[in-house]
């Protein structure tokens, strides 16, 4: 069962009529016909259930839905049940095309270069799909991807999407169902013990390379407007706090923020919270306050 599309037979007969005599295309034609035969296999398991649902719904609402209308709705549902599939070719080449059962081997689809790879994304129906690459006019299959041999001994790649499950939606559901969030052992304000080497003896995680470029360390343009003009920051550095070494109990922090369409880098001079830097003045004020209270 390489394809479950009920309309495949008509498509295929069309293709068969225009078939030419090259060996490759004959091979493809064979393959298509085979899948065509498979399309007479029973519908996917979901279909009867859906049909039942629709019929129940129509009974409940008191409206009569004809058999054709139900078919139409089912076809719609099937159209929606598509899985995005990423085809990848990493075997080099200059011009790479892909073709397969998903288009009845009818056309060469150019793949897009992405780095060293070539990619093609297509939404596919559930089921098995065979495909093959055409790399610089040569038919190739990807050896690291699953392969299947056709009756003529040609080797194609294939992918089986019959049991594909959407992970994203499913996980979100399970999260809501279970009460993970209330479990304090997983989420809480647990402070690791500073004495415990398990927590603090480890190497800190490496700094992402894009954060090494510090905007405050780059020279400013000599343009003293309202504020000193700076280089335009990379967006990944926004809202990251930079800190200079603490000197004389003074901490200098830098953070770049977006403000409307502009960027503001604030350099903030702050005393350490527990520092007694203004000791005498502060102490005298404290003494006076105490005296005033008594």
């Amino acid at each position: 069962m390489y394809d479950t599309n009920p309309t495949s037979s008509s498509n295929n007969s069309q293709y068969g009529g225009t078939g030419t005599g090259t060996q490759d295309q004959q091979q493809q034609q064979q393959y298509s016909q085979e899948s065509d035969a498979a399309s007479s296999a029973p519908r996917p398991a979901q279909s009867p259930a859906h049909r039942e649902q629709i019929e129940n719904a129509s009974r409940m609402s008191g409206t009569n839905i004809s058999e054709e209308e139900v078919d139409e709705l089912l076809a719609e549902l099937e159209r929606d049940d598509k899985i995005p599939m990423v085809f990848r070719w990493d075997g080099g080449g200059r011009n790479v095309y892909i073709t397969g059962t998903f288009n009845r081997w009818t056309e060469k689809i150019p793949m897009r270069r992405s780095g060293n790879d070539f990619l093609y994304i297509r939404e596919l129906k559930r089921g098995k799909h065979a495909y093959k690459f055409i790399v610089d006019d040569e038919w190739r299959f990807a050896p690291e991807q699953p392969t299947v041999a056709d009756p003529y001994g040609n080797i194609n790649n294939f992918v089986d999407l019959s049991d594909f499950k959407e992970t994203y939606g499913a996980d979100m559901k399970s999260l809501h169902n279970k009460d993970h969030i209330t479990d304090d052992s997983l989420y809480g304000n647990f402070h690791p013990d500073p004495e415990d080497p398990q927590w603090y003896a480890k190497e800190p995680p490496p700094l992402p390379p894009h954060l090494r470029h510090i905007i405050l360390n780059t020279p400013q343009t000599d343009d003293c407007l309202v504020a000193k003009s700076m280089q335009v920051p990379e967006h990944v550095t926004l809202n990251h706090l930079y800190c200079s070494a603490i000197k004389e109990n003074l901490m200098v922090l830098g953070v770049t923020q977006r403000y409307k369409e502009k960027f503001v880098t604030t350099v903030f001079y702050s005393p350490l919270p527990d520092a007694k830097i203004v000791g005498r003045a502060a102490a005298a004020a404290e003494k006076l306050r105490a005296r005033g209270a008594t």
Partner: protein, 503 residues
């Protein structure tokens, strides 16, 4: 004469002064109106001579020294009402408003120029001024004064907004004027060191305000071991004196300051700068708790010069006829100093006389340098701050190499052959200065730091030329000189922008 002819025929290319503010831009007036205006201008020019006498009597005396044809005619363009409107001038023009009369209702380039610029300022917001990416330095109120001083020096800025960790807001701004006052009062009471080291910005301000409200606290505070009480007492006393003179604005230096919203117009912001006699206002988005920048006159001017478009000849009036700036008159002289003046005396002038800068003159009384409020950040670079205050300015600038012979006032013969134009502006040097200027060149040859360089302009320069000059040299003040190179006045950006703001 030439300038006016160009104004009349409306041909920008014919005018040598065509420049940045006159880039291609459709005139806001329809052709018919323009023709009408030209006609009126023509009429006014005809009647100019008749009114001339009354104006010359009113303008300051430099005008009488050399009668210039163009100058006189342009002066005649002004109506009496305009004289009355002039703000920011020294005593020189104060009596003019009483003359009354004048050509009311006629087109007036001066009035129109003033109108279009205030319109432009109203249409621009502070947000427009902020660079695409910028740096703002913010101090916690509780950082020690000495460290905040060093931080200003490090970032080469004149003011920083203050963050109040209790209220979690930007609650004020610390400027070089604050430091000037601290150094002055500290110097007088001999407590500079403890003031700088033992006080935070916040504790100093609250101490001064405490003494301002209750002078009898001195004893009590001293007993409690509060540092620099004597300096604070002097500051509080001065504050009281100023308030007695109904000069409430100076009290702002110790209390919390206004900020402006990024969306407020440039006009309102400049009006706030003018009315509160400020040089810095933090631009704060209170909702977002973001300090976007600190507004200065210089920023406003640079924005104006780069963004403002006007192809009519509206700014050709000589600056002197507009009375923008402070001029020396017979009764009053400008506050000046020399290289021999001790630094603390200069600081005294800056703060007590409420002036932005003090021109530094050489022995021939020609301008040599300018010491402005922002120059106090240079006090750090040479010596400890506390030791710098008693030094003559020359020693501070040039270090030990500043000879005793100059301090004693003996003539310096060694380097008299050297020429210098480092302190002279283009306008000045093109005038063929008399020979006595050259003998003093040696002083400037010693190397006035670029931050103290005197930038000069002529009283006969047009408003437009002044704009360009300010944008070019990016300083807050220019010195007016006459054609002999003598100092006749000072213009600051506060004066210039204040001219476009109605009181």
């Amino acid at each position: 004469m030439d300038a006016n002819a160009a104004a009349n025929n409306g041909d920008a290319s014919a005018n040598a002064n065509a420049n940045a503010t006159q880039r291609g831009y459709d005139s806001t007036l329809p052709a018919g109106v323009e023709a009408d205006l030209e006609h009126r201008l023509q009429e006014m020019r005809m009647g100019g001579d008749g009114r001339r006498g009354s104006h010359d009597g009113g303008t300051s005396d430099e005008d009488n020294d050399d009668e210039d044809g163009a100058d006189a005619v342009v002066a005649a363009f002004m109506t009496e009402a305009d004289y009355a409107e002039q703000g920011g001038g020294a005593g020189a023009n104060s009596g003019d408003g009483a003359d009354g009369g004048g050509a009311g209702g006629a087109f007036d380039a001066q009035r129109e120029g003033r109108r279009v610029i205030s319109l432009f300022l109203r249409d621009s917001s502070c947000y427009d001024l902020v660079p695409h990416s910028s740096k703002v330095v913010v101090f916690d109120r509780n950082i020690p004064i000495r460290l905040s001083y060093y931080a200003l020096v490090e970032h080469e800025i004149g003011a920083a907004p203050l963050w109040d960790p209790l209220s979690q807001t930007i609650s004020g701004v610390i400027t070089t004027l604050d430091f000037i006052d601290m150094l002055r009062h500290g110097h007088k009471s001999d407590t500079v060191v403890e003031l700088l080291d033992s006080h935070s910005v916040s504790s100093w301000r609250s101490l001064v305000l405490q003494l301002f409200e209750d002078a009898s606290m001195v004893q009590c505070l001293t007993e409690a071991g509060m540092p620099a009480v004597e300096a604070a007492r002097l500051a509080a006393e001065e504050l009281r004196e100023r308030q007695a003179k109904e000069d409430f604005t100076s009290a702002n230096a110790y209390s919390d300051l206004v900020s402006i919203d990024p969306e407020s117009s440039l006009y309102d912001s400049c009006a706030a700068l003018k009315s509160q006699k400020l040089h810095w206002i933090p631009i704060v988005d209170v909702k977002g708790q973001v300090c976007v920048g600190v507004l200065t006159h210089l920023a406003a001017l640079q924005y104006l010069v780069t963004e403002f478009c006007e192809d009519r000849q509206l700014f050709e009036q000589p600056i002197q006829s507009l009375g923008i700036g402070t001029f020396a008159t017979e009764g009053t002289s400008l506050h000046t100093a020399t290289l021999n003046t001790p630094v603390h005396e200069i600081l005294e002038l800056l703060s007590v006389k409420q002036i932005w800068c003090v021109p530094i003159l050489n022995r021939q009384r020609k301008p040599l340098a300018v010491y402005s409020r922002t120059n106090i950040i240079d006090l750090v670079s040479h010596n400890s701050i506390e030791n710098s205050l008693d030094m003559p300015l020359g020693r501070l600038i040039f270090g030990e190499s500043y000879g005793e012979h100059l301090i004693d006032g003996k003539p310096d013969t060694g380097k008299s052959s050297m020429h210098s134009d480092s302190t002279a502006s283009g306008a000045e040097s093109s005038l063929g200065l008399p020979s006595d200027m050259e003998t003093t060149a040696s002083e400037s040859e010693l190397g006035i730091p670029s931050r103290m360089r005197a930038h000069t302009c002529l009283v006969t320069d047009t408003l437009q030329q002044i704009f360009i000059k300010f944008a070019e040299v990016r300083v807050h003040s220019l010195l007016y000189v006459d054609d002999r190179g003598d100092l006749v006045g000072v213009i600051t950006l506060s004066d210039l922008l204040g001219y476009f703001i109605d009181d």
